[in-house]
């Protein structure tokens, strides 16, 4: 019962455009507001591969030690997963839940969601079944701040270097690698391809 098959709308300014006869390998922008109306993404196999790589990198990056801090004779090693527990012990529950969510949990969840969207689609499920995951993914896209988290780790390293002796441990390198792969995955994945595929 689709009413307007040959038309396409710009989601940012509401302009109704004629659907161009281009294949799904070119991107085009809205003539009025210059928003990207269609952007092409990589094929599903590449995305699944990249997602799995980032997921594998995720586990060492949260469990391996991130930093070692030394003041006089006292030494302290921190891992990302410990940061969560220390917050709870100190009573900053609201802020801590929020920070852990947007810094660690949401990036991880988004990668899982990509798998939940793409694997059923590859196995021939219908688009309607995965649209719930897709809506959640679209919503979380604005709340993932892993790259900000990484930069803040560097800022606090510089800040703490004045106070004490710091050693960067392997966990930080894994975390960097994880973020690079996640960033590439999210940018390569174009969720709107799910809707375009059945029209080609």
């Amino acid at each position: 019962m689709k009413m307007h098959q040959n038309k396409i709308a710009c989601k940012e300014c509401g302009l109704i455009l004629k659907k161009p006869k281009a294949d799904h390998t070119h991107q085009f922008t809205c003539p009025r507001c210059k928003a990207c109306v269609y952007k092409f993404g990589q094929d599903y196999e590449t995305i699944i591969l990249m997602t799995l790589t980032s997921l594998i990198l995720f586990f060492p990056s949260i469990t391996l030690p991130l930093l070692t801090l030394k003041i006089f004779e006292l030494e302290q090693t921190t891992t990302l997963i410990e940061t969560v527990f220390i917050f709870f012990d100190n009573g900053y529950i609201g802020v801590s839940i929020f920070i852990t969510l947007i810094g660690i949990v949401i990036p991880f969840l988004m990668l899982l969601l990509i798998l939940f969207i793409l694997i059923p689609l590859k196995n021939g499920s219908s688009h309607k079944k995965v649209s719930g995951f897709f809506k959640l993914y679209e919503y979380l896209l604005e709340w993932q701040m892993a790259e900000v988290y990484l930069l803040s780790i560097f800022v606090s390293i510089i800040k703490l270097n004045k106070m004490a002796t710091l050693h960067v441990e392997t966990g930080l390198y894994f975390f960097c690698a994880f973020l690079v792969f996640m960033f590439i995955t999210i940018n390569f994945f174009n969720p709107y391809d799910i809707w375009n595929k059945n029209e080609v």
């Binding site: 009025r32 900053y92 802020v95 701040m145």
Partner: protein, 199 residues
């Protein structure tokens, strides 16, 4: 010049999958999402979130961000003190990052949000193209103002030496978090199509 928008042609667009229907449809047959021609209460929501973040912006900058306790003496510092600290210790790059992320970006975001609301409320469609350009900028840079919160949080976690040295968060940390969350919610609830609507 009259453009063919969804409102003029009495159509409704599914913001999720991009299908177009006649105005009487409320549920997209393609992906089962509910559809409305414009986001509901977009103007008033954006206005409220903007006002809340303006109010919280003052304590976020005046009150101390963190307390550093070294051998019993407490040293409190605001966001601006943190920047001055980096300038004193000659880390100009970091000072610039913190200054841009936690002072310039929030002020710029609030100004842009007020400009967007002005354009929508007074139907200044000739500014729509400029407005959407700035909307995209604040949409992109929005999350970077979280950096100071993350830094304080990480410092608290890493520096735990009991009585020797410990760091705790000041009252500015939750206020600043509220400012950032509210500006993100404001950009999220804003409907850019309103900028072009003439009636």
């Amino acid at each position: 010049m009259k453009y063919d928008t969804d409102k003029n042609l009495l159509l409704v667009v599914c913001t999720h999958c991009g299908s177009i229907f006649n105005k009487k449809h409320t549920i997209c047959t393609n992906c089962n999402s509910t559809m409305t021609q414009r986001k509901k209460h977009a103007f008033i929501k954006t206005l409220c979130f903007t006002l809340i973040s303006i109010i919280f912006f003052i304590p976020a900058n005046v009150l101390p961000m963190m307390h550093v306790t070294t051998l019993g003496t407490v040293d409190s510092s605001t966001i601006f003190d943190g920047i001055l600290y980096f300038i004193d210790s000659k880390s100009y790059g970091i000072a610039a990052v913190i200054f841009i992320a936690s002072i310039m970006v929030p002020i710029f975001k609030l100004m842009v949000l007020l400009f967007l609301l002005f354009v929508v409320y007074f139907k200044k469609t000739q500014f729509a193209r400029t407005a959407i350009k700035y909307f995209r900028i604040i949409h992109f840079i929005g999350k970077w103002s979280m950096i100071d919160i993350f830094v304080v949080a990480l410092m608290i976690v890493i520096v735990q030496f009991g009585h020797l040295t410990s760091i705790s968060a000041g009252a500015a940390a939750p206020s600043f978090t509220v400012v950032v969350i509210m500006t993100i919610l404001a950009t999220q609830s804003f409907d850019t199509r309103l900028l072009w609507d003439e009636e």
